[in-house]
């Protein structure tokens, strides 16, 4: 079919503007955003807790203090394993993250379905598929990264509290700063990766909606 060349392609909306639009939407849907966020917070908190706690235990085992070794053994820690997490724990963490991934995808897909009319309207006003993809991608990613940041702090806090409760001052005397930092970075990356992965499918689903649906859907 002969393509018409008199009409140019639609202007692209730059990332900073998409960002502003998405963020102001999120602010006004704060309650809803918080619920989606909570899933990420919990999953990342769990991951972060496990990693940091493991780092503490390993540091205390390496310190090799007699009184501490007794304390560790009283708490069923196998000091000869070097405090390594067993495969079941990894599986558990993996499953938690997977559940969280499915959770965000689900929440975002619902947001897309709920807002079919909004998407259609925006397309009637001149939004391109690319704009819609970007807007939903930013929305989902921002929620995920914020959730991951909160989860990180929560996980760290709980790990410190739990360790202090059992091992008291030893926690800080053997504080494994580099290992803790690594755990934090790993958790943050996991959270970001998780939310970005989860953002892709809903964003494309949103962009595929036809503007005609804006007129068809009734409240």
């Amino acid at each position: 079919m002969a393509r018409n060349t008199d009409i140019p392609e639609q202007t692209r909306v730059s990332w900073p503007i998409v960002f502003r639009v998405s963020i102001s939407g999120l602010q006004r849907r704060f309650g809803r955003a918080m619920i989606t966020l909570t899933g990420v917070v919990l999953a990342i908190a769990f991951l972060c807790y496990m990693l940091v706690h493991e780092a503490f235990i390993r540091a205390m085992i390496l310190a090799d203090l007699d009184s501490l070794n007794i304390l560790l053994q009283q708490n069923d820690i196998d000091i000869f394993s070097g405090g390594q997490m067993d495969p079941m724990t990894y599986l558990l963490i993996g499953l938690t993250l997977l559940t969280c991934l499915v959770g965000i995808i689900n929440a975002m897909l619902m947001a897309v379905t709920e807002r079919i009319k909004e998407i259609g309207t925006l397309k009637c006003l001149g939004a391109t598929d690319q704009f819609i993809v970007r807007a939903y991608f930013v929305e989902s990613t921002v929620q995920g990264v914020c959730g991951a940041a909160f989860g990180l702090l929560l996980g760290l806090l709980v790990a410190v509290l739990v360790t202090v409760r059992t091992y008291g001052g030893y926690t800080f005397r053997t504080f494994p700063l580099p290992a803790v930092l690594v755990s934090l970075v790993v958790s943050l990356l996991a959270g970001a990766l998780l939310s970005i992965t989860a953002a892709i499918i809903p964003a494309y689903m949103a962009a595929r909606k036809q503007p005609i649906e804006a007129l068809r859907v009734e409240e």
């Binding site: 393509r3 018409n4 397309k123």
Partner: protein, 243 residues
């Protein structure tokens, strides 16, 4: 000057094994600056015809041309360009973005047209002022009345200075009095902006300001009347003449 030209437009929807003929060959011309009312019962195909003029749907057969551009030849990005700059959509249920203020709602088409957010806001402010909502800029759609929401929608449709306003039952969700105000506003905008207004409606109030009335029934044009040939009886609400 003909601005919209529909030539033998047919549309067949396939629902399962059944074929539904929504449009059975419609030929209509609309001139620049006209106020056209497309009337017909629900299911008559007027919404389908409407969607074709807005570039939202493509005919199975025949063609729709707007300003001599055949819409079926445009790709999705070109259609977005076309809808953004040439068409202003007004919907029955207003379709404002609930999380955006009046000003943001009206500025978004400007942003799509490539303006900076600052320029977009300035333009939006002017148009909102023009439709009488200069004092409601920061209100969310849920914080204003139905009539005011439709005014915001009209401002949004006009902000890019389109060729055509496509209004689908613009008074359908409004009471008689507010509906009348919206029709008057549309009519004023037609004169101020020199825009062509096409409405799909079964609101008889609309007839008084229509230049052309296209009656559609069962997917075909039943009649095309000019205002002079249609006699509308005057009724009144609250002692005020409405037609």
């Amino acid at each position: 000057m003909t601005i919209v030209s529909c030539r033998n437009v047919k549309k067949v929807f396939v629902m399962g094994k059944e074929e539904v003929h929504a449009l059975r060959g419609i030929t209509v011309d609309i001139d620049k600056g006209e106020y056209v009312s497309i009337m017909g019962p629900s299911g008559s195909g007027k919404s389908t015809l409407f969607n074709m003029i807005g570039g939202l749907d493509t005919p199975t057969e025949g063609g729709v041309e707007v300003e001599n551009v055949k819409l079926a030849d445009l790709n999705s990005s070109q259609l977005a360009w076309f809808r953004c700059r040439k068409i202003g959509f007004i919907f029955q249920s207003f379709n404002l973005i609930p999380t955006m203020s009046a000003l943001e709602n009206v500025s978004i088409p400007r942003v799509f047209a490539g303006k900076t957010p600052h320029e977009a806001r300035e333009d939006a402010r002017k148009v909102l002022d023009r439709v009488g909502l200069g004092h409601r800029l920061d209100h969310l759609p849920s914080q204003v009345s139905g009539g005011q929401q439709q005014r915001i929608a009209i401002a949004r449709a006009l902000v890019n200075k389109p060729l055509i306003i496509l209004a689908d039952e613009p008074t359908g969700n409004l009471d008689l009095h507010t509906g009348k105000e919206i029709i008057d506003l549309l009519n004023e905008m037609k004169h101020d902006f020199g825009v062509t207004v096409i409405t799909a409606t079964h609101d008889m109030k609309m007839l008084s300001c229509s230049d052309k009335i296209v009656q559609i029934e069962d997917g075909s044009v039943k009649s095309v009347d000019t205002q002079a040939s249609v006699r509308v009886t005057v009724g009144s609400i609250d002692g005020e003449t409405v037609m």
